[in-house]
């Protein structure tokens, strides 16, 4: 067998293998989505999105409290993670040259690898055990801490991608350093930073573990951040492991709502990335 034929065969086999892997990866994703969609659509109706949970055995009802709760907890998380993350990312990109910056960078990378349940325990100790009560606030803090590393690192990376010639142009106009950062560097990085924040939101929106002993869940309507609050992933968990067929069906519906929300965030982040890239 001549050499070039052998090479061609190896080439085709390798291409086929990588193509097969790609197809498998896509298939896994599509299978999950299809599964959630098929089981979820049966349970999905207007009541699920607009009504409060009903007691077991009473037909109807929905998970509107969990939908509102998830939005509140994610809002709290963003309120914590976005300003702190933007500030820290700005520091690392624009001023962070020394040892302190290296330590912060390293800690951010470590934090992004900490299991989410550990972060939940942290928030439990920080808030819940002191207040003597589960609360939306503690859930928001747990998710905010989880969001923080990715917001910090994407902000830093996106700001670094703004060319130095832009900073020089601004400084040469007599702008102060912070003005240069606020009016030239940050706007230049805005698209990328927005994408990063939305992806971080999408990632924590599906987290259940850290909410188990922070937000805790609540079968009633509550928007008080000092009280326990229902969230979509937690409601999904509770309903899915319940022995009642009606609740299990609602769990599928909730899964569909949650997945759709995360897909929407993903699509929005891609959009933000495409428009106005500097």
């Amino acid at each position: 067998m001549n050499k070039s034929l052998w090479r061609k065969i190896v080439n085709s086999v390798m291409m086929a293998l990588t193509g097969l892997s790609a197809a498998l990866a896509a298939l896994a994703l599509l299978a999950v989505l299809a599964f959630v969609a098929r089981n979820g659509i049966a349970a999905l109706n207007w009541d699920l999105l607009s009504k409060l949970p009903t007691p077991v055995g009473v037909p109807g009802g929905g998970v509107v409290n969990a939908l509102a709760g998830s939005l509140i907890v994610i809002g709290l998380a963003s309120l914590l993670a976005v300003p702190v993350g933007l500030g820290a990312g700005t520091y690392l990109s624009e001023f962070g040259r020394g040892r302190f910056a290296d330590v912060v960078r390293y800690l951010a990378d470590v934090l992004s690898g900490v299991p989410s349940i550990v972060i939940g325990i942290f928030a439990y100790n920080l808030i819940v055990s002191r207040q003597g009560q589960f609360s939306a606030l503690s859930g928001g803090i747990a998710l905010g801490v989880m969001m923080l590393p990715s917001v910090v690192r994407t902000t830093e990376e996106m700001m670094r991608m703004v060319p130095d010639s832009q900073r020089e142009a601004a400084l040469a106009l007599g702008l102060t350093r912070w003005r240069t950062i606020a009016s030239v560097v940050l706007p230049g990085a805005r698209a990328g930073v927005t994408t990063g924040i939305l992806l971080a939101v999408a990632r924590v929106a599906g987290e259940t573990a850290p909410l188990l002993f922070t937000a805790f869940g609540n079968p009633y309507w509550s928007v008080d951040i000092r009280e326990p609050i229902a969230t979509l992933p937690h409601t999904l968990f509770t309903y899915a492991i319940s022995p009642y067929a009606d609740w299990q069906a609602k769990a599928w519906g909730t899964a569909l709502i949650l997945t759709s929300l995360m897909l929407t965030a993903g699509v929005l982040s891609r959009r933000a990335g495409r428009h106005g890239t500097a």
Partner: protein, 301 residues
């Protein structure tokens, strides 16, 4: 004539205007600026720059050494020399942009209207409002419209609204000979313009802050010959009201456009030194130093 470089004023005087010393456009602008900020009276008779024994570099590397040069008001001074002779470093020392690079240092004095811009308490940002800069590659802000690019220096340097912004933007664009080409699309992005137009936009942006001195670091090296010619014509226009220092690789350009020329060359230790300076006609027709002659006749570099 007054300038303010220090963050904390030494002695505040009531708004004098500079209208008597410069052209109409320039004087009117300064008068309105004087209304908005307290000014420090200086014993300055003219806005020349005087460089005394300047050395600068990065870390242990000395890029320029022992440079003394006078820059006369309302003239164009060209800095020429082979690559690596420290031309750009020297230029960037004149508005303290040099120090923005990590590890950069500068020693010596650079006086603007009699005041050392490297003196204690001098705010580099204020120095740069008096000494503007145009870079080698056009660098308009991509997130801003043409209008906002020109307005950026004024708008972002102070709190609140800038009076007569439209007029100021138009004047700066007219000074940069760009107005007629962009007046229909002021609110479109500046990055859609051609290279030459972008560079004139950057000149307009620098002029809008109303500096006295304009530094240009090879402003035409990224442009085609027609756009280069337009920039050179523009410089001859601007020199009626501004003092210009230009770094150029192109000796024909230096000969065409400048009034004075300074020739830099690196020595054995790789530090750039001033070899010769003088009126451009003299330096090009009758150089005193053999190295200058070798360079301008194209024997090296």
């Amino acid at each position: 004539m007054t300038i303010k470089l220090q963050a904390a004023p030494v002695r505040v005087v009531s708004s004098p205007t500079r209208a008597g010393a410069t052209t109409e456009v320039h004087g009117a602008a300064s008068a309105s600026r004087a209304d908005t900020e307290p000014r420090v009276e200086l014993a300055a008779s003219h806005l020349a720059m005087n460089v005394q024994d300047l050395a600068a570099g990065f870390g242990s590397f000395r890029a320029v050494d022992a440079i003394s040069l006078e820059i006369r008001p309302r003239t164009i001074t060209a800095i020429i020399g082979p690559s690596g002779s420290g031309k750009s470093t020297f230029l960037r020392c004149l508005n303290r942009m040099h120090e923005e690079v990590k590890g950069a240092w500068a020693r010596g004095t650079v006086s603007l209207a009699g005041q050392d811009i490297y003196g204690p308490g001098v705010d580099p940002a204020l120095v740069r409002r008096h000494v503007g800069m145009v870079f080698q590659k056009p660098n308009p802000f991509p997130t801003m419209s043409i209008y906002d690019n020109v307005a950026a220096g004024l708008r972002l340097n102070q709190w609140g609204r800038v009076p007569d912004m439209d007029e100021r933007v138009e004047r700066a664009l007219r000074l940069a000979a760009l107005w007629d080409e962009v007046k229909e699309k002021l609110f479109q992005s500046g990055t859609a313009l051609s290279g030459g137009q972008q560079q004139r936009l950057c000149i307009a942006r620098a002029l809008a802050v109303e500096p006295e001195i304009l530094l240009m670091d090879e402003p035409a090296s990224a442009l085609d010959p027609v756009a280069t010619l337009r920039i050179e014509e523009l410089m001859r226009e601007l020199v009626r009201s501004y003092t210009i220092v230009i770094v150029t690789h192109n000796m024909q350009q230096a000969a065409r456009v400048s009034d004075y020329t300074a020739f830099l060359m690196m020595g054995e230790d790789r530090a750039g030194r001033l070899i010769e300076q003088g009126p451009t006609d003299e330096l090009f027709t009758n150089p005193k130093d053999s190295r200058t002659e070798d360079y301008i006749t194209g024997r090296f570099g």
